[in-house]
């Protein structure tokens, strides 16, 4: 069967419906579990218990800034965004770039007059700064492996585990 215009239109409508449903679900309850795997390479993906962290944080805007929640936490955001409507973009990766230092990104930042957003951390830093900052204060796990175990490639990279240097190796100093 050849794809026709109607099929394409149907597909578009279906996609739209699906994304609308998922975004509604996300805004109202938030996902129960989130697998953070966009940066998984040297480390395994993080199985993030979102529901448990909603309980601990209390307010969505503790982590999501002004995108959702009451927007009250984080004095810096509130300076401009206290009255902002809730954003359609909520996921960390909607705003924080995976590669924050590409030539295109640097050019965009140079032209950006919104100073807070110029210095916006990349996705990896957003995760680590947000998670680790809280974990250090609240006594959560802070070791690298406690959130994301290292892969074999990671062991090779860090010269650790099976790739650890032999005890006889001497270091010239």
């Amino acid at each position: 069967m050849k794809p026709t215009l109607i099929h394409c239109l149907l597909g578009i409508v279906l996609c739209g419906l699906l994304s609308a449903v998922s975004s509604i679900a996300a805004t109202e309850q938030g996902p129960g579990k989130v697998t953070i795997n966009r940066l998984a390479d040297l480390f395994e993906a993080v199985n993030f218990d979102h529901a448990a962290h909603v309980e601990i944080a209390g307010n969505c805007s503790t982590c999501h800034h002004h995108a959702t929640g009451d927007g009250s936490s984080g004095g810096r955001c509130a300076r401009c965004h206290a009255q902002s409507p809730k954003s359609a973009k909520i996921a960390c990766s909607d705003c924080h770039e995976v590669n924050p230092f590409t030539a295109a990104q640097l050019e965009r930042k140079a032209d950006d007059r919104y100073q807070f957003h110029v210095d916006k951390p990349g996705l990896k830093a957003a995760y680590h700064m947000s998670c680790l900052g809280c974990h250090q204060e609240a006594g959560g796990p802070t070791g690298c492996d406690e959130c994301h175990p290292r892969t074999e490639k990671g062991d090779d990279f860090y010269h650790s585990g099976a790739f650890a240097p032999k005890a006889s190796a001497t270091h010239a100093h």
């Binding site: 590409t102 930042k109 110029v118 830093a125 680790l132 650790s160 010239a172």
Partner: protein, 320 residues
């Protein structure tokens, strides 16, 4: 006739030398105002963000193909290592272009981690001290090194105010200086950040145009009052460095040399070196002049006598 032309020659040569020297001095002064390439890249290091994970060390090791480390890169016991009777923490060497050290600030508080590597000065002392031009400051902002021309004199190691260049003692017959080159060949010249910046989980290292990073640093200080000490290390130090630092504790407590001057190291010797061409150009002419003056009597003696017959000198001698 020969006397006049000699005088003219001397006057002309002295004037010429003076002109050359003055022009040279002017050029030397102009070089002193160099504050880096306008589009030069840099890195803003925020010590308040570093968690001491040593990932930058691992990334650097892999990117630059350096020898395997003595201890795994996730081994944090290296922070307890000290050298020279406990006075010195880890340094860059031929096996590591960058190292992270841990400092305990005075009066308690969380430990502060500081990454060391080449700071990529706008006007580097290593470059200006090198007499074979083994170093180059690229327009992307990196200070790179060419081992093909290096003679292994190690003057750069003495000249560097940050003690960064390391000598590859393990290959003494092929002189090589080992230092961070800002990943110039593999990354920077293709518009990519260095490996250490890319791996940093906390974005303690921010890559960008140096002039933009300065603005960003001041914004951070302004936006979060009390978080930082009011100084951007590297903005002015030694004529400006490509890598700059923000800290929450005074810089001298985290291993920074706060006694360094704001002038490039070259400025300390520029005035003196400006006299070298003068000496080289004027002295030969000057002393040739002295010599000619000193021997003037004999030479002119011949010409004072009309006719210029060959036996005139002997005639005078005979009369006396």
């Amino acid at each position: 006739m020969s006397g006049i032309s000699r005088r003219r020659f001397l006057a002309g040569s002295i004037a010429g030398c003076a002109a050359t020297t003055l022009c040279g001095a002017k050029q030397a002064l102009a070089a002193g105002s160099f504050t880096g390439y306008p589009e030069g890249m840099g890195v803003l290091v925020d010590l308040t963000r570093c968690i001491g994970c040593r990932s930058c060390e691992a990334a650097c090791n892999k990117e630059q193909g350096l020898p395997a480390p003595a201890k795994p890169f996730d081994d944090l016991s290296v922070f307890d290592e000290t050298f020279h009777g406990g006075t010195q923490k880890r340094r860059t060497d031929e096996t590591a272009y960058t190292v992270v050290n841990r400092y305990q600030p005075e009066g308690g508080g969380k430990p502060v981690y500081r990454k060391i590597q080449c700071n990529h000065c706008a006007e580097p002392a290593c470059l200006t001290s090198c007499f074979v031009n083994a170093y180059t400051k690229t327009q992307e902002g990196a200070v790179v090194y060419n081992d093909k021309v290096c003679v292994g004199c190690r003057t750069c190691m003495v000249a560097c105010p940050f003690n960064i260049p390391a000598f590859k003692y393990s290959s003494a017959f092929h002189a090589k200086i080992m230092k961070c080159i800002f990943c110039h060949e593999t990354r920077l010249k293709n518009g990519r950040p260095p490996a250490c910046v890319e791996i940093c989980p906390q974005q303690a290292l921010t890559f960008g145009k140096r002039r933009e990073l300065i603005k960003m640093a001041y914004q951070r200080m302004q936006n979060e009052p009390g978080r930082y000490v009011d100084h951007l290390y590297g903005e002015k130090e030694l004529g400006g460095t490509g890598w700059m630092y923000l800290s929450n504790v005074p810089f001298d407590q985290v291993g920074f040399d706060v006694t360094v001057q704001n002038e490039p190291i070259l400025n300390n010797v520029k005035d003196f070196l400006g006299t070298v061409p003068m000496v080289l150009a004027i002295w030969p002419a000057l002393f040739t002049g002295f010599h000619l003056l000193a021997t003037k009597k004999d030479g002119h003696g011949h010409e004072d006598h009309p006719g210029g017959h060959s036996a005139s000198g002997h005639g005078e001698e005979d009369k006396s």
